[in-house]
């Protein structure tokens, strides 16, 4: 695989307000190679790809294409350099045909302004044939295709634009094993045609199967590159997660009380099966698994957002029947959801409103607001959680990510829960704020409530949880205790390696 280097990214740096997303990242891509870009969730993989695709502008560093300096300012520039990105969420118009999707925005018309359907279908057919995609009919509606086939259409679209660098972001995340096999055959074909691929995934076994070279990044920093042949599972894992822990985590407190909450054989109507765990006072039970492994789904069921098919939820010895969030809240369960903007906050409203929305029934009788109690509660939680704001009438929209997360937390603490569910509590907030959240989690656990903590960041799971429940593909793999809570053990369980 001694092709010439066609893409060279050198010392790429990208800052967002308050966060350095990428620092000194370099990547060399050779002709006809499959290059894995490896890193944990939030390591900066997507940001790097967005820089390459012209969606973000780097704040430092240079991109060379064929040895010449390239400025990729827009998506059109990226197209000009024949770079295509296949995003994890496919961007196809479901009600249009395969051909229409492939040539979207580039449809040729005859002199009457009518689209040359027949010619375009012919062209689409040719592209498909070249890459062995005979089973996809160009006139089919895209929404009638399987996910795998849709992915092929996306790739065909890239090929129709003469792409020679194709970025695939987690292409196998929604494919079955058989479909993965097929995708790999296809990637093999692309390699033969001297097309280079940047392959993003955190499934190590796939990377060993299909990739030639690996670049690992972590926390926006470049860790290293090497040929696949010269490395192994263990080395990659430690490169991915082996950060130095700079004392951002508080000491664990091992003072657990009696059991307060228990889930038995919980199953969803879809895929989630047989979840069992118990939770004690003062305990943090961590949930780890890859994105899509079913962690969030468990919490949504417990909180009454999604229906339960089977199983029991038991609070302090009493079985609960929960069909909506209101009942869960009344039972003493609180959920800080994964996405604070979509599910956690009413952004156009102020802090006061957001904190008290879940306890309205305690504060308002008819049209009479208990102003004194209201202000006390808001003030109490704002100072306890150290929410920084000039006024409680500040719109939540104008707060920083860390402060927004604290408002969500305050809203849920105001309901005085016995079980607090935290789904990715530190997503998208800076290091300082993360540290504060960690401290808060510890303090909260000290007040006697039990916490269910979902996080994709291993160090958080390792350093905050007293026990760790590991999920893989909608199944509970096991619950790790004390000494078993180590990176390698957790990752091995989560990946099934």
């Amino acid at each position: 695989m001694a092709g010439k280097t066609i893409l060279k990214m050198e010392n790429i740096r990208k800052e967002f307000p308050g966060v350095v997303a990428l620092d000194n990242i370099s990547l060399d891509l050779k002709e006809g190679e499959v290059h894995a870009l490896l890193g944990e969730n939030g390591a900066g993989k997507s940001t790097l790809i967005k820089v390459l695709a012209g969606i973000h502008q780097p704040d430092g560093g240079v991109i060379y294409i064929d040895g010449e300096k390239a400025e990729i300012k827009t998506v059109q520039d990226a197209q000009h350099y024949r770079i295509s990105v296949i995003h994890q969420e496919l961007c196809l118009a479901g009600n249009m045909t395969v051909t229409e999707n492939i040539f979207l925005g580039r449809m040729e018309a005859d002199r009457f302004g009518m689209v040359k359907d027949r010619e375009l279908n012919q062209k689409a057919r040719e592209i498909m044939n070249t890459f062995g995609l005979d089973e996809i009919e160009p006139t089919q509606k895209v929404r009638n295709l399987t996910t795998a086939q849709q992915q092929m259409v996306e790739i065909a679209k890239a090929l129709s634009m003469d792409a020679r660098i194709i970025v695939m972001d987690e292409p196998t995340s929604s494919l079955s094993n058989k479909e993965v096999k097929k995708l790999f055959d296809f990637i093999w074909l692309l390699k033969q045609k001297k097309i280079s691929i940047i392959y993003i995934s955190h499934r190590l076994e796939e990377i060993f199967e299909i990739c030639d070279t690996i670049t690992v990044i972590r926390d926006g920093e470049y860790i290293g590159s090497m040929p696949v042949k010269e490395t192994n599972n263990e080395q990659l894992m430690s490169m991915m997660v082996g950060r130095e822990f700079k004392n951002v985590f508080p000491e664990k407190d091992w003072n657990q009380g009696k059991e307060i909450f228990r889930v038995e054989n919980l199953s969803s109507p879809y895929r989630l099966k047989d979840i069992n765990f118990e939770l004690h006072e003062n305990e943090v039970l961590g949930f780890y698994g890859l994105v899509g492994s079913g962690r969030t789904e468990i919490m949504r069921m417990i909180f009454g957002v999604d229906p339960i098919e089977n199983g029991k939820i038991i609070m302090e010895g009493k079985e609960l029947s929960i069909t909506c969030p209101k009942e869960a809240i009344n039972a003493g369960i609180a959920l800080c959801p994964e996405s604070r903007k979509d599910e956690g906050l009413i952004l156009i409203k102020d802090i006061d409103y957001n904190i008290t929305i879940s306890i309205m029934k305690e504060l308002i009788r008819g049209i009479k607001l208990n102003r004194k109690k209201n202000d006390e509660i808001v003030h109490n939680y704002c100072s306890k959680l150290r929410i920084k704001t000039p006024s409680y009438k500040q719109k939540v929209r104008n707060l920083s990510g860390g402060n927004q997360q604290k408002v969500v937390l305050a809203k849920w603490l105001a309901t005085r829960p016995k079980v607090l569910i935290l789904d990715e509590p530190t997503r998208g907030i800076d290091v300082g704020a993360k540290q504060e959240i960690y401290q808060l989690i510890k303090e909260l656990a000290g007040t006697g409530i039990g916490i269910l903590l979902i996080s994709s960041e291993l160090p958080e799971i390792i350093n905050l949880s007293h026990r760790v429940l590991v999920m893989r593909e909608m199944r509970q793999v096991g619950i790790l205790e004390k000494d078993e809570i180590m990176q390698e053990t957790i990752i091995r369980n989560a990946l099934g390696g």
Binding site: K326, D342, E343, L345, I346, K349, K368, P390, S391
Partner: protein, 322 residues
């Protein structure tokens, strides 16, 4: 220093000061409109009589606009209000003409209109059908029912029934009094009650509202029940004013109602708006059309002016909020 400044920006303890600040744009527009009309037709515009006429003419629109404010804040819309006016009006008039007790006839009229709203709300909150479509369906259903009930002809009522819609109490037109009472109740409901807070929460972020333990389905349902009730109240006032229940009445009134609401600063995207703003929006529409009548502008031209004013007002509002 900067902290202090932003504090005063977001907070203002006096509700009237806050109200004027939030609605400065349309208040200035309304004042400008009044000043211009006072100069152009001083003898006719600046009279107590004209003042009460304007208020009475907008009373039914405003009453429905209070309900529309709730609906639009949740992110919905209700196109069926005009037809509910016709249905409850003809029904009430019909019952009276077949010598029912007035109070009973009014209650039945209100009940049927409220039921129409309840149907809208039930379907909207329980299915995926958009409010626009559901209420458009009800617009036809209620209008059709009103035609059937009245056989397509106006139903006369005794003159003393008309004294309600045309009468005065302490030299204030009775519909204006009704409007004022309903306005105050709506303000309290929207700004002070749990229900009102839930309405804003749903319009601001429906998922977050649901996660916060709000029964979003029931709140949405109730919002349409409320507008159904208010529309049927408007229908009974209209029947009384016309001394008859007319199946053709209030065609297209939903557009005036929506216009008043939007002029008043209620965002079509949901989550934002107040009853006070809607009231001013309705007054602007009333003053504008009365003013144009006083200036003897032909009604076809009036429509064009009205359209431009609405577009302009909303454009300015959108720009101000950027």
């Amino acid at each position: 220093m900067r902290r202090e400044k932003s504090k005063t920006q977001v907070e203002s303890s006096n509700p009237i000061v806050r109200f004027v600040k939030e609605n400065s744009g349309i208040i200035i527009a309304l004042m400008a409109l009044c000043i211009i009309l006072s100069i152009m037709v001083p003898d006719k515009f600046l009279t107590y009589n004209n003042f009460t006429t304007v208020l009475r003419s907008i009373s039914t629109t405003a009453i429905m606009a209070f309900g529309m404010t709730f609906v639009i804040i949740t992110g919905g819309i209700d196109l069926s209000v005009g037809s509910i006016v016709a249905l409850s009006g003809t029904l009430c008039a019909g019952l009276i003409s077949s010598s029912w007790n007035y109070a009973a006839a009014v209650i039945i009229g209100l009940a049927v209109g409220t039921l129409c709203g309840a149907f809208n709300g039930f379907v909207i909150s329980r299915t995926e059908i958009p409010p626009f479509i559901v209420t458009m369906g009800m617009m036809n259903i209620a209008r059709g029912a009103s035609y059937i009930y009245s056989s397509g002809k106006p139903i006369r009522t005794p003159d003393d029934f008309g004294s309600f819609g045309n009468g005065y109490f302490l030299s204030i037109p009775i519909p204006v009094i009704v409007m004022t009472v309903l306005m105050i109740l709506s303000i309290l409901l929207l700004s002070k009650s749990k229900f009102g807070r839930s309405v804003y929460a749903i319009g601001g972020n429906k998922e977050a509202a649901r996660f916060s333990g709000i029964n979003t389905k029931n709140v949405i349902w109730l919002v349409y029940v409320l507008i159904g009730f208010l529309a049927s109240a408007a229908g009974i006032i209209t029947a009384s004013r016309l001394y008859s229940g007319q199946p053709t009445v209030a065609q297209g009134i939903e557009m005036d109602v929506i216009a008043a609401t939007v002029l008043g600063g209620v965002s079509m995207a949901g989550g934002v708006g107040k009853i006070g703003g809607t009231m001013i929006g309705a007054i602007i529409i009333g003053v504008l059309s009365t003013g144009m009548n006083l200036l003897k502008i032909p009604s076809f031209y009036q429509m064009i002016v009205m359209g431009i004013v609405i577009l302009l007002a909303v454009y300015l509002d959108v720009r101000r909020k950027k």
